[in-house]
Amino acid sequence: MELGLMQRRLEDYTKSLFMEGLLDAQFLQLQQLQDESNPGFVGEVVSLFFDDSEKLLNELTSAMDQQIVDFRKVDSYVHQFKGSSSSIGAQRIKNVCILFRKYIEEQNIEACLRCLQQVKQEYYHVKSKLETLFRVTSLLNPIVLKENLKHPLGTDSLSNLCQWLDYFANTSLLL
């Protein structure tokens, strides 16, 4: 099994998240906080972020849906989102929030609605990327690997992972 290769691929995947600006150095900080005593730290934090953000986005959406938009309330939600997204290093979300707040201040509803859409897009984008990342990471985890190697090749998650990775590689080739 080309473990090193898969790891490399995973690294590249992660790298690309940074390249795209989806994540910034704050995410690195989180990574550095993770250690043996708390191996799931980044995952936990990110999960917290997701849970919290879903609620926040819901509230934000309904606040923007009102007949008369309470900009102050909207602003506090956006500010909160800005804070939490910047804390995990979700750079793009943070940037949209900054813009969003500008429009809030101008009370430009149209622009605010666009920002809302955008912030959601960015959120789900980074969410799916991170979920993929964590999923693959956990699959590649050596502990998991060790376990899996005990099982016949055909059924272990590792081979499935390879299959999966390969599938995507191949699809690109074929297309």
Binding site: R8, D24, L175
Partner: protein, 657 residues
């Protein structure tokens, strides 16, 4: 035997655990973190633990206060968020400073100058901008040390001015100081010791020597307030307050510093909420007629009169109240409010003349004191406390209603009597006088995007993702780093973020969990699209069986891709006007494709749940997604496609290795 806080413990104490802690200072520093954002709370907590601090977290200000009150000497420092739903962070800051006298650090995603200024003026010892980095937290112990040092200095000053020095106290402070600041403060304390060596006489007064910082419990505070009120603000000097309170073990210095803080607090209370002017007015309502002719008097004049004994203190306060109530028809922020804050800034700048220090600040705070506690001094302490509490509630309400657009902001735009400013300025006041000339609505919002230029530009580019979408999708290979304007955030993030050391050791390492090596943007040149091809070649996994299954999947997927391309295009177009709905494609795409894959890969099915969740929010449901783009990163930039923008970015044609 004293059981109070670690850092303040005495060297001779039998609290062995604390001694151990002291030796390792600043490890073991007890930090309380308050933030309603659970993500940030968890991160900060982890960072603080990594710094070897003891951390307690709260997600609500009220519970933080309760913890602090329950465990008076249980914390050394507090870190609090600015914007919280139940209580304004600044309010909490004041309360803590007043009741527990702990250093408080504010934090916020808001880096606007005004907000930071507000933190400073409210007495925060630091202001951190989110996202917090661990480096910033490593040094928070300095605030603990500094605060103690300053406290003792203050006390010493007043002591020496007062009655030639309470040597017990001084010595106590010395020892305490050195015990709590082992590593850093030793040289200072030894210096002090030398200075006061000859004055050091009696070590045997264990009650003063061994007593750490006084714990101002609610009862104690109420006693204090009652005493102050009884004496009247003019005459409320620490000595007399102390006598009135008659609390064993309480020293004049404790009372003095507490009095100072109390005035500060009251000033803010009366100064902050707009409608408190209204409260004042109603409070003094019955005396309207009597005092109406006096409304033209400025605060300074009133003070002068009071000093000259022309007016009794109580009257003075009510006069002030009336003038306050009247002098600002619009904003409810009477000018003297500003003045009072300046006066209180006086206190901060250590304008002390022994008992005389109480004169002006006293006068200035007169109205609050009496407003809070009623004009006549015949009110019972309980009632006083209630009033106090109700004032606070008012302030809280006001504050919570407009946390950042508080009248503190407005205050700056209120007229500012030149005579007062000059008078006060001449006494070397710090910048607390600067009017915050902000238009009302800007509050906290302004700062967030004026400061970071890089972010502004990158956010500007974000508003038009259509710009960078097509650019990235147009190029078939992954764009070389740095060249396409489509990755603005990356290049701009450079200056501030590249300092973070890259964990390059993690590259390809298998230590612990697999942490992919993270590369700084500059390192990413190696990342080329042909890497993927190489990796594909490298995979030894291509058994015919698997290939066929893959192909099978592929065939299923391909038409789906195409469909999806079209459907999402139409969806997008239709949803562009859909306000907050819909056009949310990305996540559901990813989710759904992985669920396609799930059947063959047995990946966790949580994504399905997520998808359904998203369906709740978004009506459009997309069948597939080119997850390939997720992994292969060829077309990642397509990601945030603006709904208004054409779907080209998602065209299958663009995807290739």
């Amino acid at each position: 035997m004293n059981q109070s806080g670690g850092k303040g413990s005495m060297l001779t104490s039998s609290r062995k655990s604390n001694e151990v802690v002291l030796d390792q200072f600043p490890a073991g520093l007890r930090v309380l973190v308050v933030d309603d954002d659970p993500t940030c709370l968890k991160i900060v907590e982890k960072m603080l633990r990594t710094c070897h601090y003891e951390v307690t977290t709260c997600n609500r200000a009220e519970s933080a206060l309760a913890s602090l009150q329950a465990n008076r000497n249980g914390f050394d420092i507090v870190i609090s968020d600015v914007h919280m739903p139940d209580m304004d962070g600044f309010k909490l800051l004041e309360r803590i400073g007043l009741e527990m006298d702990l250093p408080v650090i504010m934090m916020s995603a808001d880096d606007g100058k005004q907000v930071v200024m507000k933190g400073v003026t409210h007495g925060a010892c630091d202001y951190l901008i989110k996202p917090i980095r661990i480096e910033e937290l490593k040094n928070i112990w300095q605030h603990v040390v500094r605060k103690r040092k300053n406290e003792w200095k203050e006390l010493e000053q007043s002591v020496s001015i007062e009655d030639g020095g309470d040597r017990m106290q001084k010595q106590f402070e010395d020892v305490d100081y050195s015990s709590s600041a082992n590593e850093v403060g030793n040289w200072k304390s030894s210096k002090r010791r030398k200075d006061e060596e000859d004055e050091f006489e009696d070590k045997d007064d264990t009650s003063t020597l061994k007593k750490p910082r006084v714990v101002w419990s609610v009862e104690l505070h109420q006693q204090f307030v009652a005493a102050v009120n009884q004496l009247g603000i003019d005459k409320a000097v620490p000595k007399k307050i102390l006598e009135l309170m008659n609390v064993p073990g309480l020293t004049r210095e404790n009372v003095a510093s507490h009095l100072q803080k109390y005035r500060l607090y009251l000033r803010r209370l009366s100064g902050v909420p707009q409608h408190q002017g209204g409260i004042n007015a109603s409070f003094m309502g019955t005396q309207d007629a009597t005092f109406s002719p006096i409304s033209s008097l400025t605060g300074l004049d009133l003070r002068a009169l009071a000093v000259a004994g022309q007016l009794p203190a109580q009257r003075l306060s009510t006069l002030q109240a009336m003038s306050f109530a009247r002098s600002s028809p619009k904003s409810g922020q009477p000018v003297p409010m500003v003045d009072q804050r300046n006066v209180f800034s006086f206190n901060n700048s250590k304008f002390k003349t022994g008992e005389g220090q109480l004169q002006q600040p006293n006068l200035g705070s007169n109205n609050q004191m009496n407003l809070l506690h009623g004009i006549p001094t015949t009110m019972e302490p309980k009632q006083l406390a209630e009033l106090h509490q109700s004032f606070e509630n008012m302030s809280n309400m006001q504050a919570s209603v407009s946390p950042s657009n508080s009248p503190l902001m407005h205050r700056g735009s209120v007229r500012f009597p030149p005579n007062m400013s000059q008078t006060l300025m001449s006494n070397g006041l710090p910048g607390g006088l600067l009017p915050r000339c902000m238009p009302a609505g800007n509050g906290r919002g302004l700062g967030g995007y004026t400061n970071p230029v890089s972010q502004t530009t990158s956010s500007a580019s974000l508003t038009f993702p259509m710009n960078h979408g097509p650019e990235l999708s147009g190029s078939n290979s992954f764009p070389p780093l740095g060249s396409p304007p489509g990755i603005p955030s990356l290049t701009q993030k450079g200056p501030s973020k590249e300092d973070i050391p890259v964990n390059s050791d993690a590259k390809g390492s298998t230590t612990g969990g697999i942490l992919p090596g993270y590369y700084l943007p500059n390192d990413l040149q190696q990342f080329q699209s042909n890497d993927w091809e190489l990796q594909n070649v490298g995979l030894a996994f291509n058994s015919p069986q698997n290939t066929s299954s893959l192909t099978g999947n592929l065939e299923n997927a391909a038409p789906l891709f195409v469909q999806q391309g079209i459907s999402s295009g139409s969806m997008r177009n239709s949803s562009s006007g859909g306000g907050s709905k819909g056009s949310f494609v990305e996540g559901s795409h990813h989710q759904n494709l992985s669920s396609v894959v799930n059947s063959s890969v047995r990946i966790k099915s949580e994504t399905v749940a997520d998808t359904s969740y998203q369906n709740v929010l978004y009506t459009e449901h997309f069948g597939q997604e080119d997850l390939m783009s997720a992994l292969l990163k060829q077309q990642e930039g397509i990601g945030p496609v603006n709904p208004e923008f054409d779907l080209d970015g998602y065209s299958v044609d663009n995807i290739h290795v």
